[in-house]
């Protein structure tokens, strides 16, 4: 019944989420820091290899840092339409053919964004750069399929 397919939908959504926060900077007395951002879960051996290549880590951890994580999935019945409904769009490559698709199944992905700073002021700067864009939602178009 189930055949193999994989369109990297979750991966692309993770990238989309990360892109929103990858260009945040904090300014201090005499320096400007672009806040490093990474996807939280990682393999420990890889993190150890990249962050302490000579085993001898001279400082604890550098700050500020941001990290985010895909924490859960929830079925969203309020967005669900009947499974028999279809929609048709023009094929962008040829401009002539049309592609037909059934309605997708609506799930909400939950993300958690964490911020770690040394100073209160840095955290406030970061949060202030993020919150105004979410009123309460921010819309972003992600092309899940090749066009």
């Amino acid at each position: 019944m189930f055949e193999y397919f994989y369109n990297e939908i979750f991966r692309k959504t993770i990238i989309g989420f990360g892109t929103l926060f990858n260009d945040i900077t904090v300014k201090q007395e005499d320096s400007t820091i672009k806040v490093p951002l990474a996807y939280g879960p990682t393999q420990k051996f890889l993190a150890r290899l990249e962050e302490s290549p000579d085993l001898n880590k001279r400082t604890s951890l550098t700050l500020p840092r941001m990290s985010f994580e895909f924490t859960g999935l929830q079925y969203d019945s309020s967005r669900k339409v009947t499974t028999t409904q279809q929609f048709t769009v023009k094929d962008k490559t040829t401009g002539k053919n049309t592609n037909k698709a059934y309605m997708p199944v609506p799930y909400s992905m939950q993300f958690e964004l964490s911020i770690m700073t040394k100073l209160n002021d840095n955290a406030l700067q970061i949060v202030e750069q993020i919150l105004p864009y979410f009123q309460p939602q921010y819309n972003l178009t992600v092309n899940y399929f090749h066009q």
Partner: protein, 473 residues
């Protein structure tokens, strides 16, 4: 009086003896560490925090390592913020030695706040492992009033969490803690966030030669810029008559502005054609040849080409030079009725990769001499680690973390201001002076941040221009 008056519970001489014995023991069994007092550069009185600190002094002093059996069982934690090193160390330092030797030296230093004792927030450079520890707590009553006095400070220290503090003590073994070391795949491993600039290595003037032909395409004028181009269309030119050479041309796009003819829009990825330049004017034409355009995703482009006798031929770059940040002026010297004009194409490596002809001139009887302007600014010298570099135009300052004289890349931290291309970067102590060629906007850090990965991967799948025409929910 309730104490036995026939015994002295700690006379001054007894106290001095104990202190001397402790000092001696510390000198025998201790290790040499460096005490680095924090300088409070600026602070926020509302949020009650020190927003900028520097560590500019280092005083060597002997300390006994209380946790002689190591840092503990779990010195490395993997959290959502990456690898965190949680080493802790407890050090014992003689009170008398500190007060007699370090306090007087610190007393007249600015921004120290308090020179009479060791303070929480100060750093200890620990030579084993080249580590920086931050003093988290100073215990001054342990052992508890032996002979009615205290003799040592017990310092409970944790590995320092670095942000952008200036560490410039003048002691190489300390300052180089922030110097780059070899990381994964031979890349530099640098502690903290840095920015990379590519500077001009050796500035060399480029050179080129050309020929003189009859019946070449003199120039091409765009009569309709067309619209909707996402990339430059290919140019096809009518073949030259027998014995001639067919010309070659290339189109340049113009985007991001509104033009009268065409549909280039601000913030749109669609463009119009700005101009069509000649790569080779060809030869043997009797009139301006027809031109057709293919690809590019747009439509409507129309041009007219003109033929002339005694034009220049193909321009060959004989020496690409180096150190170019912008397209240099090109001048043609020779007898003609219409002088030739051309534009140089600067490669990402800073060399002249090609010369595109905007006007092939007319009336030349011999090939003109081409001179390409030399790169602007002078570039020489070697930048020193931790020195302050200043941008000549922007006035921005930063500290040098690494300088690679092979790739001409400089990694800088504590960036104050915004550096701009083509300005001269000057080192404060080395006197090195080089022109900024490229500015890398991605940040480099100690193996954690993936900002540039998200940026590049996001470019392939995200469409910020698309929106629902019926409104957003």
């Amino acid at each position: 009086m309730v104490l036995n008056p026939y015994f002295q519970q700690g006379s001054k001489s007894e106290q001095n003896l104990v202190q001397s014995l402790i000092n001696e023991q510390l000198k025998i069994y201790g290790v040499d560490v460096h005490f680095m007092p924090r300088k409070y550069v600026s602070s926020d009185s509302v949020l009650r925090e020190v927003s900028a600190s520097s560590f500019e002094d280092a005083y060597p002093i002997e300390a006994y390592i209380d946790n002689f059996d190591g840092y503990g069982d779990n010195p490395t934690l993997l959290s959502k913020f990456g690898i965190e090193q949680t080493n802790e160390v407890t050090l014992i330092i003689s009170k008398e030695r500190f007060e007699n030797y370090i306090s007087p030296l610190m007393k007249n230093e600015s921004n120290i706040k308090l020179s009479t004792r060791l303070k929480e927030g100060d750093l200890i450079y620990f030579p084993f492992g080249d580590r920086l520890f931050e003093i988290k707590y100073v215990e001054h009553e342990k052992p508890f009033y032996m002979l009615k006095n205290t003799y040592v400070y017990e310092l409970r220290c944790e590995l320092f969490r670095y942000e952008d503090e200036v560490i410039d003590t003048g002691v190489d073994e300390i300052d180089d803690t922030l110097e780059a070391s070899e990381g994964v795949d031979g890349e530099d491993y640098v502690i903290g966030v840095t920015q990379k600039l590519t500077l001009v290595g050796n500035a060399e003037q480029a050179s080129a030669v050309t020929t003189q032909v009859h019946g070449g395409i003199q120039f091409v004028t765009v009569t309709n810029r067309g619209n909707g181009y996402t990339h430059a269309p290919r140019v096809a030119i009518s073949s030259a008559p027998a014995g001639g050479v067919t010309g070659i041309a290339t189109a340049y796009l113009l985007g991001g502005i509104v033009v009268c003819a065409g549909s280039a829009q601000p913030n749109s990825n669609k463009s119009v054609v700005q101009e069509v330049n000649l790569v080779n004017p060809g030869s043997g034409y009797t009139t301006g040849p027809d031109m057709q355009f293919y690809g590019g995703g747009g439509t409507g482009l129309a041009v007219t080409s003109y033929m002339a006798n005694g034009t220049i031929g193909i321009v060959t770059v004989t020496g690409g030079g180096s150190g170019y940040t912008t397209s240099p002026n090109i001048t043609f010297t020779g007898l003609s009725t219409v002088s030739a004009a051309a534009t140089a194409v600067v490669s990402t490596a800073g060399t002249i990769s090609a010369i595109h002809i905007t006007n092939a001139g007319a009336g030349y009887t011999t090939p003109p001499t081409i001179s390409i302007a030399a790169p602007t600014g002078t570039s020489s010298g070697t930048f020193a680690f931790n020195e302050i570099v200043t941008g000549g135009t922007s006035g921005a300052t930063a500290r040098v973390r690494t300088w690679n004289s092979v790739t001409n890349e400089i990694e800088i931290s504590n960036v104050d201001g915004t550096f701009s291309r083509e300005e001269t970067l000057t080192g404060s102590t080395s006197g090195a002076s080089r022109v900024v060629r490229l500015i890398d906007l991605t940040n480099y850090d100690d193996g954690f941040g993936d900002n540039d990965v998200f940026e590049t991967e996001g470019d392939d799948i995200l469409d910020f221009s698309e929106g629902n025409p019926f409104g957003t929910p």
